[in-house]
């Protein structure tokens, strides 16, 4: 028996990384403050500067690659889309031509506007992404339960996450069994879609019947017994420093918002 592992439950769960070991709520407050602040500021220099920080934090937290993969996809899809859309619309502000693409003139003003919008779209999405990449779902639910969210809600959230993983696994199994029965499943998109439909039936049936059985099985584990729960896996509650840090970010956000409103009134 790995007693070191067993004993690890006796103290607060730590992974030895400053960012990861912050209480989920602290991380959440920081990420959301920063994400919202990019919307408030809406300037590409500010927004993209934070995006660079996100990369840095993700890398320091040991999930740089995972974060980068999703973020870069967002960057390309959202970024490209908005930039092109901006070039098509809002003709009246366009004066400076940057370059011409097969006779289609690209304007600097539209480009800057697009960059500003991009910066807060990605600034906010990146902050959310960073939070979920560096915080386990069970830790998030733990901190919510500590705030009084019910055990049932938390279970439903966590088990739907697992259900999605399971469903994907089952659908692969069903697809493979169909393939072995000679049904075409590979090839172009239409073939794939055609092959997918017959899997929906068994997939859903399986999901429903196992949900029913699972809820009985959870009942057998005293799930609905109305007593105060014990948590063998505990996170260190927000320390004074963390509270201060969170407060600082919220105050900064409010200050930015106030400044922004003031500026727009003065204009």
């Amino acid at each position: 028996m790995d007693m070191q592992f067993v004993n690890s439950f006796k103290s607060y769960q730590k992974v030895g990384n400053f960012w990861c070991d912050l209480y989920p709520l602290t991380k959440m407050i920081i990420c959301f403050s920063v994400g919202l602040s990019t919307i408030v500021v809406a300037d590409w220099r500010y927004g993209f500067a934070w995006c660079l920080f996100y990369f840095l934090f993700a890398a320091l937290a040991g999930c740089g690659k995972k974060f980068a993969k999703v973020f870069l996809v967002l960057f390309v899809v959202i970024g490209l889309f908005l930039t092109v859309i901006r070039q098509i619309g809002a003709r009246d502000v366009n004066t400076t031509v940057m370059f011409s693409l097969f006779g289609w003139k690209w304007h600097l003003e539209s480009f800057v506007i697009a960059m500003n919008i991009n910066s807060y779209m990605l600034g906010f999405a990146g902050a959310v992404l960073l939070f979920f990449n560096t915080t386990a779902m069970r830790d998030i639910m733990y901190s919510f339960e500590m705030l009084g969210v019910s055990h049932e809600t938390s279970f439903i959230m966590l088990s739907s996450m697992q259900n999605i993983i399971d469903l994907r696994k089952t659908s692969v199994t069903i697809l493979e069994s169909q393939k072995s029965r000679g049904i075409e499943t590979d090839g172009n998109v239409f073939l794939r879609i055609k092959a997918f439909f017959p899997t929906i039936g068994p997939l859903m049936l399986g999901a429903f019947s196992s949900t029913e059985e699972k809820s009985i099985a959870m009942d057998a584990r005293a799930f609905s017994v109305d007593r105060k729960h014990t948590y063998i896996r505990e996170l260190e509650p927000m320390t004074g420093k963390e509270k201060l840090l969170s407060a600082a970010f919220v105050v900064a956000l409010v200050a930015l918002l106030a400044a922004r409103i003031l500026l727009s009134i003065l204009k």
């Binding site: 592992f5 993983i165 399971d166 059985e213 699972k214 584990r221 799930f223 017994v225």
Partner: protein, 328 residues
């Protein structure tokens, strides 16, 4: 006192025509070990569901007759309260994993967390159960990625760690190899030693014969036969009721057919061995007697052998003597 009492219980699952239980009456006593056997679809699982209050609380459908758990009608029980009293290990190990815990250790601990047991006690109890079930090496694994046999052990551990007074166990060894099956039966046996009431559905009839106090044979939703293990499992008529006989009992019947009957039909290997030895000894003794009686010395010797004690001379065994106790 009867802990669970069924009186003419009849139950029909929703949207089905035939009842899954028909007029079932039986009383289950505290501290006893009951085995439920019978063919597939005979109603074994349904009977368990009723004894655990899942019928009628979870499975709707139509229940008539009475099912009384610890003196209270099952309809009046609060399901959460029954779950703390009666542990239930389900037939399907794949739906018993919560799916919300990342390690086997936490999975096994979940029931105790829900019951609010202090953390240190949880850690101790989980360690102990994991050792018993030989899943120590799995405690850090993800429970969602276990094999069928491993899941079955984890599911079993997750229930027995809660240490309920009564345990209903539905085919706990279907995914296990012979070694795993032995482990599970050993644990069930120690649970019985600790005074737990046990109800076990199992197909491995030799093990049932060895451990259970009473047997119920379920067929087409009714109890086709019931009573003390020895009585039920030594009777050939069980074969007509969709159940099997232990190897030892079949051996006993074969001996009878061969004209060399044992004193009784054995149901376990140990019993069979003892009965065979007994039969052998009787044969040997009668043969020796016939030969010994042929001569006068032989007769005396036979007497010496068979009655080793005489008040006058004390113990005489195989020609040697030990003095009788001197009169007080």
């Amino acid at each position: 006192m009867a802990f669970i009492e069924l009186k003419n219980a009849t139950y029909k699952y929703p949207y089905t025509k035939e009842p899954a239980l028909k007029d079932v009456s039986y009383s289950f006593e505290k501290g006893k070990f009951y085995g439920i056997i019978g063919e597939n679809g005979g109603g074994k699982t349904t009977l368990c569901n009723l004894m655990r209050g899942l019928i009628p609380h979870f499975y709707l459908g139509k229940l008539t007759g009475e099912a009384i758990i610890d003196g209270v009608d099952v309809r009046e029980w609060d399901t959460a309260e029954i779950s703390a009293q009666i542990g239930y290990v389900f037939q399907n190990p794949f739906t018993q994993i919560s799916g919300i815990k990342e390690t086997v250790f936490e999975e096994v601990a979940m029931g105790l967390e829900n019951l609010g047991v202090p953390k240190d006690e949880i850690l101790d109890r989980v360690c102990q159960v994991c050792r018993q079930l030989k899943i120590e090496d799995l405690i850090k694994n993800n429970p969602n990625e276990l094999s069928g046999g491993q899941r079955q052990r984890v599911a079993f551990a997750s229930i027995i760690v809660m240490d309920p007074e009564t345990l209903i166990i539905d085919e706990p060894t279907s995914q296990l190899d012979p070694e795993g099956t032995e482990d599970v039966f050993e644990i069930i046996h120690t649970l019985k030693g600790r005074g737990k009431t046990l109800v076990l559905v199992e197909h491995k009839i030799d093990l049932i014969a060895e451990y259970c106090d009473e047997i119920l044979v379920m067929q087409h939703g009714s109890i086709a036969a019931s009573g003390p293990t020895k009585k039920i499992l030594s009777d050939l008529s069980v074969l007509d009721k969709g159940a099997m006989l232990p190897g030892a009992a079949i051996f006993g019947h074969e001996m009878q057919r061969a004209g060399k009957p044992l004193r009784e039909i054995p149901i376990t290997v140990d019993e069979a061995a003892a009965l065979v030895a007994e039969r052998g000894k009787a044969e040997w003794q009668s043969r020796l007697k016939t030969r010994a009686l042929a001569t006068p010395t032989g007769l005396r010797r036979w007497r010496t052998l068979t009655s080793p004690y005489s008040p006058a001379s004390g113990w005489r065994l195989w020609g040697r003597t030990a003095p009788a106790r001197p009169p007080a």
